[in-house]
């Protein structure tokens, strides 16, 4: 049975959808027949094809850099170290850190700072708010840890400056090692230190 010949507009629409790979098998047959020896149809098809190519060859602009995040992990690294990321997010961060040397270095520095903070001696406060006694470990007293954290921030800042200035001979760092230590930490007391003290606070 002879097919109905599509009018000019319907024919153009078929050609357009053909170029985009959006035809049904039946429509594909119609297009094949239309393009079989019909000079006018072939010319129309080619003209449409060139228009489509000119659109697709439009240059792609870069997004201004200030509109996008820099692609690194930022504060998620600290949450990662503290075991505060849920499973999917944790995997995503792990994948990124494996591939991104910038974030790996930042994670390493954060980890050292974190260890340094956690190994600071705790401070007991009195009812009047004075700080008379330096305790041996912070983890027995939650309030004491908070105070130690405050002091630790300053110490960590100094420590980070030391890392940047000193550079060079830092201990080797691997994600496996980090992961093992943090699994161990999670099962231990908060603030528990796995590495030898000399390594945790090794200043350059």
């Amino acid at each position: 049975m002879a097919r109905l010949v599509p009018d000019s507009d319907a024919r153009g629409e078929l050609f357009s959808a053909y170029l985009d790979g959006q035809l049904t098998p039946e429509e594909l047959e119609i297009v094949s027949e239309l393009l079989d020896g019909d000079i006018q149809a072939i010319e129309e098809f080619r003209s449409l094809q060139r228009t489509r190519v000119s659109l697709r060859l439009l240059p792609e602009f870069e997004v201004p850099a200030n509109l996008l995040p820099d692609g690194h992990l930022g504060d998620r690294l600290s949450a990662y170290l503290d075991g505060e990321l849920v499973t999917m997010e944790h995997r995503r961060v792990t994948r990124h850190v494996v591939d991104c040397s910038d974030c790996r270095i930042e994670l390493q520095e954060l980890d050292r700072a974190r260890i340094a903070i956690r190994s600071l001696p705790g401070v007991e406060t009195t009812m009047t708010g004075e700080i008379p006694v330096v305790a041996q470990r912070p983890q027995q007293n939650h309030r004491g840890r908070l105070v130690a954290g405050g002091i630790g921030v300053a110490a960590a800042a100094a420590f980070m400056v030391g890392l940047v200035v000193g550079g060079g001979d830092q201990p080797a760092f691997s994600l496996d090692d980090l992961s093992t230590r943090h699994v161990a930490r999670a099962s231990a007391e908060p603030g528990f230190s796995v590495l030898p003290v000399s390594m945790e606070v090794a200043l350059p």
Partner: protein, 169 residues
């Protein structure tokens, strides 16, 4: 992006920021409007990701993008600014980046200025198909019209564009 995967805001920004920017740029011909749209879309995505139900992420994202774009146009219509002539806006506003300079070759300028002369529905369909690279189904979902309408709009848009272009096609 798979259907059961919900990306983070940063993932969306990194993966789609450029496409969103180019979508807006080609619809408006204006880098400032394109930058505004990227910011607005990323803001909406950030707010919306909490309530996003895993499904067609592309459809969801481009619906947000389109709505943000149309809202921007409506806002401008309510508070008209000094109108820019249609066509090439490269010489106006912020200084051109190397990419923009590259884009100022005659051919792409001609295509861009012709695009801006299409009616919005045709321009949107053509840009989503040929610039962003969505399928007809994805465009239908993003624009909330049947696939047949998408197909017709793309064809008519291209046909008008062919007639508008000053170089022989």
């Amino acid at each position: 992006m798979t259907n059961d995967f919900t990306p983070t805001w940063e993932d969306v920004a990194q993966r789609y920021g450029r496409k969103i920017y180019n979508f807006a740029y080609r619809l408006t011909g204006n880098p400032d409007d394109a930058a505004d749209l990227v910011q607005e879309v990323l803001l909406r995505v950030r707010k919306g990701l909490d309530s996003y139900q895993p499904g067609s992420f592309e459809g969801w994202l481009w619906r947000i993008t389109r709505n943000a774009f149309l809202d921007g146009i409506r806002r401008k219509q309510r508070r008209p600014e000094s109108a820019l002539p249609e066509g090439d806006h490269h010489s106006l506003g912020s200084s051109p980046s190397p990419d923009e300079v590259l884009a100022s070759v005659r051919l792409s300028d001609d295509v861009q200025s012709s695009l801006l002369k299409l009616s919005y529905d045709y321009r949107e369909a053509v840009v989503l198909c040929d610039v962003v690279g969505l399928t007809y189904d994805e465009i239908a979902e993003a624009t909330d019209v049947p696939v047949g309408t998408v197909r017709s709009r793309i064809h008519r848009g291209r046909k008008q564009l062919r007639e508008l272009l000053t170089w022989p096609v």
